[in-house]
């Protein structure tokens, strides 16, 4: 489907529809919050009923998601020791002489992890065989890594480049473009160029591509820079006669540090995905680079973001790309690169591709981590301010809602069920982000606080706080699970810690009601309100500092 994936350049009915859809998320969130508040004032009995029904729904959903968080974490830890290179060789061998029938199950030797990896591998190969869409040899695969840089100094970018240089076959298969903004400070530009010189020869190709300022139709966003670099890479691959269908492009944040097996795992996922040119590949983002240097609230928030992605990974049917991710370069070229006028380029590219291919596009979850920085601005209050701005930028992903809704209204070739399912998840996700913490921590208690005589003399007045407290008590099971998993997922602290400090880190999770309110719901509501009022955000680079090299 041909769709103008931008809010610019619209006219008439399309422009009006776009504006209406921009108003919708903010208006819905405000209607929910103010409606519940007014209901609590005027009809406290009805409000108490709504609050109990909602709290119960939240509890069950929380427990449901916790189950998948645990399963997803188990899978992540099971796949941690997978020998991706061996599996890739096996895929190559499989494709060289594909069997006519599924291989009979055989007992794999070794640890549980190895056996699990072998079982998953057999399933992948069987799916490949059934699809009939065999991949090219792995040796023909090239990785294009685009690292957009706006203000990040060399010391932020270098660890990521080091991690890429550590990848097997980096010098034969990895093409790295340091996409530098022309408006970047001179010191930053000089640092990036020096970095490029230092690592020449470690990759198949490494160069700095400067994105000029003021290109017509572009906004000051990361997507414009990445798209400029992708166009340059397209020319490079054309000159090298490398077909784009054999190129996997990864667009990383400047602070992204990949694990040693990232490119192997990505290659394997690409090879074993039957519709590999109609797919994005989503790793699990973790924020470990400077995790021990930031205040507790920032740590908890970003671990929460990792957990959210872990849960999302269990639902590939509704998975949307987030942050650093990879995709087929052919698909990227066909959809016209990343949007050049949107801040949320990471999720926008999925929606753009999904609409372009009439729904024949998906995200493949990868149980491989890549690590980024937690926002760190030095002092805790400054960090809190920067975290707020970062979360507001993430929540600005709501700018996808009007575009997706507008496209779905016209996209007759996409099944109605898929349009409804994905559209609702996108919309509901943003509304829940902006409203649930308010309802759970503040507004839900208003009926009890504003207990007029008519309400305070009902059984419900006494029952509601008890039921809500019981629900929160049961929800603490989920919190306890989350704390345990966070302690398992966190890298070892380079500074030796006492038991008291470790208990302190666990207790940081008790800040969740506050952080989810002021650094979760509030920035989301801020973003939606801005979109509703037509006050669009500009890209704002988060302050990320490290005093030590990233934890491995």
């Amino acid at each position: 489907m041909t769709f103008h994936f931008s809010r610019h350049g619209l006219a008439g009915r399309e422009a009006a529809l776009q504006r209406a859809c921009e108003i919708l998320p903010g208006a819905t969130s405000w209607a929910i919050l103010l409606g519940t508040l007014l209901l609590a004032c005027w009809q406290p009995v009805a409000a108490a009923v709504v609050v109990i029904a909602f709290a119960l729904y939240w509890l069950l959903r929380l427990l449901y998601l916790t189950i998948f968080l645990v399963l997803s974490y188990l899978r992540l830890s099971l796949e941690r020791e997978t020998d991706w290179l061996a599996l890739i060789r096996d895929v190559d061998a499989f494709c060289a002489s594909p069997p006519q029938a599924a291989a009979p199950p055989r007992a794999a030797a070794g640890s549980l992890r190895r056996r699990y990896a072998a079982w998953m591998h057999r399933r992948q190969l069987d799916a490949l065989r059934r699809s009939g869409r065999l991949p090219p040899p792995s040796a023909d695969i090239r990785h294009l890594i685009i690292v957009p840089v706006a203000q990040e100094p060399r010391e932020v970018v270098e660890p990521g480049l080091v991690s890429l240089a550590r990848q097997p076959l980096a010098s034969q298969q990895l093409v790295v473009v340091l996409a530098l903004e022309a408006r970047a400070p001179a010191a930053v530009a000089a640092g990036i160029r020096a970095l490029c010189d230092a690592y020449q020869g470690r990759f198949l190709r490494l160069w700095v591509e400067t994105h000029p300022t003021g290109v017509p139709g572009e906004a000051r966003v990361k997507g414009a820079n990445a798209s400029w670099a992708a166009a340059a890479a397209e020319r490079y691959f054309a000159a090298q006669q490398i077909p784009p269908a054999r190129v996997i492009v990864s667009c990383f944040d400047a602070d992204t540090v990949v694990s040693d097996e990232y490119c192997s795992g990505l290659t394997y996922a690409f090879l074993t995905c039957p519709a590999r040119t109609r797919a994005s590949f989503q790793p699990i983002p973790v924020y470990h680079n400077n995790i021990w240097e930031v205040p507790g609230f920032a740590r908890v928030l970003d671990i929460g973001a990792s957990f959210f992605q872990l849960v999302e990974a269990t639902n590939p049917e509704k998975l949307v790309t987030f942050s650093s991710h990879s995709m087929s370069f052919q698909a990227l070229m066909e959809v016209g690169y990343w949007p050049v006028d949107m801040i949320s380029d990471d999720s926008s590219i999925f929606w753009k591709a999904f609409i372009h291919y009439d729904g024949d596009y998906r995200v493949v979850p990868m149980y491989i981590t890549l690590s980024m920085d937690v926002v760190n601005a030095g002092r805790w209050w400054k960090t809190a301010l920067h975290v707020y701005k970062q979360k507001r930028r993430w929540a600005w992903g709501v700018e996808n809602v009007p575009l997706v809704l507008r496209a779905f209204l016209r996209a007759r070739r996409i099944p109605l069920y898929d349009r409804w399912r994905l559209g609702f998840k996108l919309f509901e996700g943003h509304i829940a982000w902006a409203t649930w913490p308010w309802l759970l921590t503040l507004i839900g208690w208003v009926p009890a606080f504003l207990a007029w005589r008519e309400f305070s003399s009902t059984v419900l007045y006494y029952s509601a706080p008890r039921i809500t407290s019981t629900i929160f008590g049961l929800a603490s099971l989920s919190l306890a699970t989350t704390i345990v998993l966070s302690l398992c997922l966190l890298p070892r602290n380079p500074v030796r810690e006492s038991l008291r400090h470790k208990i302190g880190h666990a207790c940081e999770w008790l800040l969740i009601p506050l952080t989810s309110l002021f650094l979760g719901a509030l920035p989301a509501l801020d973003a939606q309100t801005r979109l509703m009022l037509g006050r669009h955000l500009e890209f704002w680079v988060s302050d990320k500092r490290r005093s030590r090299p990233p934890s491995s």
Partner: protein, 473 residues
């Protein structure tokens, strides 16, 4: 994983669809009892909370395993005899009505000790206790002279002589005194070597500096008032006008305002009753700063043309007027509350209620309802007379967040429920005090200060035990 996800999704969906209505029905008091006569029925509950907690609960003959604070749930509509028993405390009993889906809250039950614990604070034989209302201080007189007066601070639990040893006022005889609610400063009327004098004094510890203001005041002022928040000015009413006196500046502003039949200070504003029945606010210069809402109906016919009224300001727009005959009026419908005989008022502005008493009965005026006159049938706030006393009521206090009234008659102090229900005892005598002497009750400490009947010593009785901040069931 996808299959598991879908399976669990539907399981959780079914669980929600089943649990949500059941939880809501339970929250609203619905109960299912098998049997042809029962089925689904809506129940009510009783919320009980006592001070001190831990009382055994009896519902009829049935004893609950829980002690107070407790919620008695799943009660079918009807009347329930409730008894609470706690060792060393007097039994508490009421008949409590329970409606379907309704809660009956008895959350301020004060259990009375079998023997009220009392402590002697100051030995000695005092003759009189002079309260400084709404302050932690009071005076104790051991003789007729100012040198015999002791100040006691209940907050600091310490005492000191009103005047230092070298004060020339020590030999003066105390004739009368004027206090103001919320103010620790007093105006004393004394007889010294130079005849009758008016002394303005704040009884600070070791720093009391009596100030002779006799030459600033008329010989026999009808009423004296000052604002506790602005004690630099004294307002003196005589005949039909008010003078303003500034003791520190030795200044008198005669006829500060005229044609006044009653006045009171509240929140830095003077409220005055004019001869035509209008209630006005005056600024610091004595200029009119606006009338009160509802003044049109509060006309001359109601207050008459003669007589002085004591004003009690309850809120920005609500004024009680107590006439010389003890008639009680209010500046809103129904205007006339009591025809006569009211001897004292104890307002509770936070809960919009007033304790009031006549010679032999105690009443509660609840202003939180009936504030709006909607039609002929609307009765507005009325006085509920809650108990009688043959001995003559002298003082009354709100106790335990307005749930009880503590009353002193000639020599007995007793407690009564501010909203007595069926089965409640009429009154519970706590102790006996020195006849004719005032008592002081401090809600913050829960202590009653009084003069011992036999020794005259200052003693304190614990009326309200120290309680946990959160006592909800």
């Amino acid at each position: 994983m996808l299959f598991l996800r879908k399976l669990l999704f539907y399981l959780f969906l079914i669980a929600y669809l089943a649990l949500c209505p059941l939880t809501l029905l339970y929250a609203m008091g619905y109960l299912f009892r098998p049997g042809a006569e029962h089925g689904v029925m809506q129940t009510g509950l009783i919320a009980l909370s006592t001070v001190p907690p831990g009382a055994s609960i009896y519902l009829g003959d049935r004893r609950y395993t829980h002690t107070t604070p407790a919620l008695l749930r799943d009660l079918l509509p009807g009347d329930y005899p409730v008894r609470l028993l706690l060792k060393n405390y007097r039994p508490w009993a009421r008949t409590v009505a329970v409606g379907d889906g309704q809660s009956t809250a008895l959350e301020h039950i004060l259990l009375v000790p079998a023997v009220v614990p009392a402590t002697t604070l100051l030995p000695g034989r005092f003759e009189e206790l002079i309260p400084l209302p709404d302050t932690p201080r009071f005076l104790l007189t051991a003789g007729p002279r100012l040198g015999d007066v002791t100040v006691y601070d209940a907050k600091e639990a310490r005492s000191w002589p009103l005047l230092p040893a070298e004060s020339p006022w020590r030999e003066a005889r105390l004739l009368s005194w004027t206090t103001m609610r919320g103010s620790t400063t007093l105006l004393l009327h004394v007889r010294g070597r130079e005849g009758q004098r008016w002394v303005w004094i704040e009884p600070r510890r070791g720093e009391a500096r009596p100030e002779d203001v006799t030459d600033l005041l008329p010989p026999s002022p009808r009423q004296l008032a000052w604002d506790p928040l602005h004690e630099q000015s004294l307002f003196v009413w005589q005949e039909d006008h008010v003078d303003r006196v500034e003791p520190a500046a030795r200044a008198v502003y005669p006829h500060w305002t005229e044609e006044v039949r009653g006045c009171a200070l509240w929140d830095k504003t003077m409220y005055v009753l004019k001869p035509d029945g209008r209630l006005l606010r005056l600024d610091r210069e004595g200029r009119e700063a606006g009338g009160l809402a509802g003044e049109a109906a509060f006309d001359r016919a109601l207050v008459g043309t003669q007589g002085w009224y004591q004003l009690e300001i309850l809120a920005h727009e609500t004024v009680l007027l107590q006439g010389a005959r003890g008639d009680l009026l209010i500046n809103r419908f129904p205007f006339r509350l009591v025809d006569g005989g009211v001897r004292g008022l104890a307002p509770d502005p936070q809960r919009e209620r007033v304790l009031l008493w006549q010679q032999n009965r105690l009443g509660v005026l609840d202003l939180s309802h009936g504030a709006v006159r909607t039609g002929e049938a609307d009765a507005g706030p009325v006085v509920s007379w809650i108990c009688e006393s043959p001995a003559g009521i002298e003082q009354a206090f709100w106790v335990y967040e307005g749930s009880q009234a503590l009353v002193r008659d000639q020599e007995a102090v007793w407690l009564v429920d501010a909203a007595p229900g069926p089965g409640a005892p009429e009154r519970q005598v706590l102790l006996r005090v020195k006849s004719g002497s005032d008592v002081v009750y401090a809600e913050e400490t829960g202590l009653l200060y009084y003069l011992d009947r036999s020794t005259g010593a200052l003693a304190a009785a614990e009326i309200l035990p120290k309680r946990p901040i959160l006592a909800r069931p």
